[in-house]
Symmetry: C2
Subunit: 136 residues, 2 copies
DNA sequence: TTCAATGCAAATTTTTTGCAAAGTC
DNA sequence: GACTTTGCAAAAAATTTGCATTGAA
């Protein structure tokens, strides 16, 4: 079985995750495909180069990486979960026309002030509209 | 079959939707259950009083109401879609501990300014954290 | 009577689970 | 050798579809 030597290994170790080949492969796929792929996208993308990988393993690895906060989920689609290796804070924009999802690094994450006694862990912002291509 | 005489009928007519009994019932359920129910919640809630209603119809009606913007979707759960008859702009807060979803009317919807050429239709904000009950 | 809406059952899609086999330290 | 991870197949959960029946204007 092929062995990976790259910085995904270092990253996983930082998070106290044993850098097994499948884990490295999933993380590498996410790092090189910044298109917010679904579990199925990842599975299909990897199975060509990685003879033995199963959907179960892709789900296992994704759940682990989300749990340990190495990656994050993008629940902008109604039907299936998407995943994102991007760690810089950013928003997601989905085009109503073409369906493409854009990262928005420039937009500022809003400061949300809630009623007292609510503790905020995370703020997620999804924006929908028309992308430049579809606005024409 | 029971016939409804209430303001849901008026509301549906406003949106150019024929106020058929099943539609009125689903909308009424959403108006009286401000708990962001799932399609299944609605189906189970209605089938006791409405002898003949099917899951298909619940989905049909929900899709129609969302399409016509009478109600909105709440995609805060990874697994299943939730629905909301609330029309006042507000945010959603989900407690990481108890899973309860809160409406946040006081929090201000952020002004998002994107790169030019992006047209914003809708901004959705999901907040996760601990609710007062679970913060104790 | 024409067209729209419904309900059933089956199919589809996404994700999870149980468990035996294989891999890792 | 003990413990973790994997893969298969099957199950589960949420949603959609095809189509015949029913209901509404």
């Amino acid at each position: 079985m092929q062995t990976y030597y790259n910085n995904e290994i270092t990253l996983l170790k930082t998070f106290d995750i044993r850098p097994l080949n499948h884990r490295v492969a999933v993380l590498e796929y996410l790092n090189t495909h910044r298109t917010h792929p679904t579990a199925d996208d990842i599975y299909n993308g990897l199975k060509t180069t990685m003879a033995s990988i199963s959907r179960t393993t892709v789900y296992n690895v994704l759940h682990l990486l989300v749990d340990k906060k190495v990656i994050s989920t993008v629940g902008i689609d109604a039907q299936e979960m998407r995943y994102d290796a991007q760690t810089t804070p950013h928003l997601h924009f989905k085009c109503d026309q073409c369906g493409k999802i854009y990262d928005m690094f420039d937009a500022t994450i809003p400061e949300i002030s809630l009623e007292p006694n609510f503790t905020v862990h995370n703020v997620t912002v999804y924006i929908s509209g028309l992308c430049p291509d579809c606005s024409k």
